[in-house]
Symmetry: C2
Subunit: 361 residues, 2 copies
């Protein structure tokens, strides 16, 4: 992995990653002239016992983009700068211009609940220079690089201090609110462990203390023995529809042996994880012969510097469709109660995905 | 409140409620000839530590409805039965034909995670006979009746045994997946306390043990003192945009003094709660002069027969819009991390709703 760190004219950081040495590179561009200091802040939700972040940015665009303007495409006309330069790179990472978390956070307003600066980081990860590609369409070596990038970002963000948890994710498709189709994801670096990873960590710690093994480690072993819902089984990694799926086409992707974070994967594990990931993504897009929208979240250990033998790096995918034509809406019971109701069995949905043949090269 | 309990031809229960004595009533209809026994079951999610319910109903309709068929409208043609009869009623409650929870639950399949019968109840609550009305458009006395109905259902469902929590909710609008526009809500009676109420109960119990008062009780007092986000302040009830709103137009509605459940409201509290509720609903629909979609969930104490001084009956509303034209999508950070990011301040959104003048009669 080759990396080049640059600073945009508005002060934001840009890091370019490549599988090959970076020889040609234009200067770091920015569509914006000056940094945005909206000072996001946190407010405490006393009923749920969790933080909520508020970042009330005005629409601060300083130029009118042409209709086909793609801010994640390479800058070709300096009069219309995008977020990334032309040059020798495969993956680009830069600070989000409208971050929900930022350092330094602003002094929070005085409120009737506890408040705090929303001190964290929000990065945009451009998966490829090709606006018409997709994560699953990238070569295995390119996906392997992305896994390295996620690891590099997590360790770099954690080293800045004050970061409790790093979550790489991708929102894909208009159905999940994404209007920008250039393949990209995001990384949030939180000052606290957010509710979902906190809950999962609590469950994993309890399981580990009772069993001396990881809960996902044992679950993967059970899924492999059962076999009914497996989508990929390689030497080091697996992908499957979990027996307890909350979304019809939910899939988990993980290394077979517990690994706390991306940085701990060895080359063989990482290559096989890239293959598992690509297999799932190709099956998704092959299912109905169209790009399947999804949320993809990668869970790893908190970045508190402690050892987390209970943690197990993995991705969870939540596609919003129930069938080819029908969305699964999160409604009263899911949102109001946190109690998920499924009208399909994971075994049936797994069978549909198993039958999609893919060519992973 | 007057009530009449009936049994549908397919065996499902139907209860009709009215503000006046019920004198004329047709027999209980059903669009279906026979009961559906899909046997929903629960599976344990070992990573999140929660149950998920699976009810894989086939589309079992036994007749082809005419295009304008409204299953929640009164049956006028016996050849096309709906779910409710003609007669003297204001609110109708019946067992959902496709329940996510049902008694008796089926023997669950043998799985690699713990499983159990999904033994609970799912009821449909028809708010009014008028298909073109809405909850907020109903007279105060009708809304008052509905609050009594929710209380009656909760106590009746709890008395059947095996029920840990009862959640009345409404999903309103196509944006939250509702295609049936006849005003109606649902009630889920769960065999366990679901994750969100469980989390809120845990926080409330801790606060109560430390402060000897309710967390929502104290929060309401703070919101009233602050005043910036209040939408309604009556003698017994309030409505406000909470300082920690996770949705732009989120609103909470509650009695000022802690009440564990609907059944504990006295007549004065209930009348004022109806007025608070109607005020919010009219403001919502007045905001952009069109029906505002939302999720409405009513939280009360668990139905474990124990005293819950920490509990405080209240509603939370989550409209899915950020602005008149833009939806708030729950994406990576909200769904993946449970960490909500807001791009508007609750104070601004409260001001918008405060400025909507309504006539509550």
């Amino acid at each position: 992995m080759y990396a080049l760190e640059l600073t945009k004219p508005d002060g934001r950081q840009l890091t370019l990653y490549s599988r090959k040495p970076i020889e040609r590179m234009d200067p770091a561009p920015s569509p914006f002239a000056e940094p945005l200091n909206a000072g996001p802040h946190l407010r405490w939700h006393p009923l749920r016992g969790e933080w909520v972040t508020y970042a009330a940015y005005r629409q601060g665009r300083t130029f009118l983009p042409p209709p086909e303007y793609n801010p994640l495409g390479m800058t070709t006309d300096p009069a219309n700068p995008t977020e990334v330069p032309a040059g020798d790179w495969d993956v680009a990472v830069f600070d989000n211009r409208f971050p929900a978390l930022a350092v330094p956070g602003a002094a929070p307003p005085s409120l009737i609940v506890p408040s705090a600066p929303a001190a964290g980081y929000c990065e945009v990860v451009v998966f490829t220079k090709d606006a018409r590609s997709s994560l699953g369409a990238l070569p295995l070596s390119h996906i392997d690089l992305l896994l390295q990038v996620w690891g590099d970002r997590a360790s770099k963000l954690a080293r800045r201090g004050g970061i409790a948890y790093v979550l790489p994710f991708e929102n894909r498709g208009a159905e999940v609110g994404v209007t920008l189709h250039h393949p990209h994801g995001q990384i949030y670096a939180y000052p606290v462990v957010p509710p979902v990873p906190a809950r999962m960590q609590q469950e994993a710690q309890q399981y580990y203390s009772e069993n001396g093994r990881g809960v996902l480690q044992d679950h993967i072993a059970s899924e492999r023995r059962d076999g009914a819902r497996m989508l990929y089984e390689g030497p080091h990694s697996v992908a499957f529809v979990p027996v307890c799926a909350r979304y019809p086409y939910e899939v988990w992707v993980a290394p077979i042996e517990p690994v706390e974070s991306f940085g701990e994967l060895d080359a063989g594990q990482r290559a096989d994880l890239a293959r598992a990931l690509k297999t799932v993504l190709l099956k998704y897009d092959g299912l109905w012969q169209r790009p399947l929208p999804y949320l993809m979240a990668w869970y790893q250990a908190p970045t508190d510097g402690k050892s987390h033998p209970e943690a197990h790096l993995h991705a969870q995918f939540y596609p919003p469709y129930r069938t080819r034509d029908r969305l699964k809406y999160l409604a009263g019971t899911e949102i109001g109660a946190g109690f998920f109701a499924m009208d399909a069995l994971p075994e049936e949905k797994a069978r549909e995905l198993q039958q999609v043949e893919v060519n992973v090269e």
